[in-house]
Symmetry: C2
Subunit: 355 residues, 2 copies
């Protein structure tokens, strides 16, 4: 059992030590590295297992015991029933205020479901979303939803836009992030019914809405926040990952076929490595669960220590910056604006009505 | 006016000489190169303009005069009214049987609308689809729909699967192409309602259906035909294009920063060029309009001569192989199978019913 002093409490990060393909050791190592960079971390998991892992890794961190764990392929319904799972206990720490945020490299479906169950939705949000930062040149683009909602309504997309804008403002420090809708054409008339309606509604907000963009334009960095349903977001992310791997594979093969190229390629290795690092999705931290009433970051199941460290630092920053309250403020602001617009429209209508 | 003898008629390809960003010269050059490879081509467009282009290109091909042309950004409604457009005349040649197929690098929206208007749907198909071949390793994957229908029903997806399977059999010569649904997870339970229903229906067909695949698996060549709605298909294609360009851009930049790498990179140029050619979507021909009662191939608006040549050769093959009839046969086969299944189910139900 951990006892945390008041000052540390707000930014303590509960790390699910049992979640992920390389748990517990890579997770524990990543958490220890984050602690070395100043984060307050508590490891959540079976205390014997975590203690043994800490010894192997050669680190010392507080442990919150959780007798159970959610399997990587476990169905959501069964994950929800494990009240003693490391994921559940980590989120309970957030819910009770003992931790400011939770991080897990476990099963995404379970993370979304348990986060929703334990933390609930924050007021003003109807559907939660997974967000993800993807590399675009020297910059990064935040895409949401990348998997929680295969189908959405226009109002969900508008809420995603507000949440994404706040996240990017806090996380990347941009003043007025450009928000776009992912569509199958840049014209306002393009897209599904939900997208066309969301386009119309977003034009009325105070967001820096730049309209619809296509998949290729994401990488031209035409927007900082790209809003979509979870199905298209998944297609976007997986296709980008697949294409990147395919091209590096092709290059490698072409080079190995040619003796001159093979020799020359050793001189190019640093360049290749830098590009690989730039397009490495893991480097860019985890996927935040947005819309729930607390901070939860989901790292990729294949996360190694470095990815976990990045996710913990990201979670720490989001907790410190009070992500959930800031999203609440933004929602209130947009609501207020909409009220004002309606009031003006009404007044104008009264004055201009013929009687 | 062209007069074509009976033998040539079936495989004459009507090429819209006025469509595309580099029309007429690149289109005319591409058509002439296809003619050099044995295709029977008729150029459709303003005869003075086309004749002048033929002179510049140094070729001689028959011309079918069309006084008008559809603009690259012209709305569909206005394109449909131009009864003298080169696109319309090319499709009229197909409809009347004077040509076996049409090729255009013009406005995709207009091509789909005019093809639908002139040729109509083929029996058994409720919605047409754009298909596209994308490179995956040494092979190619056929994706449809890549843009005609932002939203679809399960029955549309099943029809796309049948059309795509036939197209790949004819175009790539595969015996039993593997058909998959694009989804946000490989489990049958993943995806939108339409996808889940289509998955269930496809399992009952005689198609070599391999289930759901994700965007990255497209490039692992887990299927030969990838079926999706036009919105996701557009996201897939554009994201792949964008990622490929982004990676080559990053590599180029990294290499130019480093003097040793810069020198070494000249030795790698042939490898780079081969990779670039492999991932060049243009090399892989145009996008067929499937589901209409005739063969129509749409090349990318930015098509140069080589892409037009590929598209003409592809159109010629599809006309020769009687694409539309083969799709009709496949639909009848699946219908017959479904009838048989229903009959068996009914008989079984009668025997097993309690009374």
């Amino acid at each position: 059992v951990v006892s945390l002093d008041g000052a540390a409490r707000a930014t303590t990060i509960a790390v699910d030590a049992m979640g992920g393909d390389f748990a517990p050791d890579e997770v524990v190592k990543g958490a220890a590295q984050a602690a070395g960079r100043g984060a307050h971390v508590v490891l959540v998991g079976d205390s014997d297992v975590v203690r043994a892992s800490l010894e192997r890794v050669g680190a010392d961190l507080p442990i919150a015991h959780a007798p159970d764990a959610v399997g990587m392929d476990e169905p959501v319904s069964s994950a929800l029933r494990r009240s003693g799972s490391s994921l559940r206990v980590a989120l309970d720490l957030v819910s009770s205020g003992a931790a400011g945020a939770a991080v897990s490299a476990g099963n995404s479906g379970a993370i979304m479901a348990v986060a929703l169950h334990v933390l609930g939705l924050q007021p003003g949000i109807d559907r939660p979303a997974f967000g993800g930062l993807i590399p675009a040149g020297d910059d990064r683009v935040f895409v949401l939803d990348i998997g929680a909602n295969p189908a959405v309504k226009a109002s969900n997309l508008v809420q995603f836009a507000v949440m994404g804008e706040v996240y990017v403002r806090l996380c990347l420090g941009l003043d007025s992030p450009r928000v776009a809708l992912l569509s199958n054409g840049s014209e306002d008339s393009k897209g599904t019914k939900s997208i066309r309606e969301a386009n119309e509604q977003l034009r009325k907000t105070d967001l820096n809405f730049v309209g619809n963009i296509e998949g290729n334009e994401v990488f031209d960095h035409k927007a900082d926040v790209v809003v979509c349903d979870g199905f298209s977001g998944n297609v976007l992310l997986k296709t980008a990952e697949g294409t990147a791997m395919e091209i590096l594979r092709l290059l490698k093969r072409e080079i190995s076929r040619d003796i001159v190229a093979r020799v020359a390629s050793t001189a190019l290795m640093p360049s290749f490595q830098r590009v690989k690092r730039q397009i490495d999705f893991e480097e860019h931290g985890g996927a935040p669960v947005l819309g729930v009433d607390g901070v939860m970051i989901n790292c990729h199941g294949r996360s190694r220590a470095r990815a976990v460290t990045n996710a913990v630092m990201q979670a720490e920053q989001m907790a410190r910056e009070r992500l959930v309250e800031r999203i609440g403020d933004a929602l209130h602001h947009e609501e207020g604006e909409a009220r004002t617009r309606r009031r003006i429209a009404r007044a104008f209508h009264l004055r201009s009505s013929p009687t």
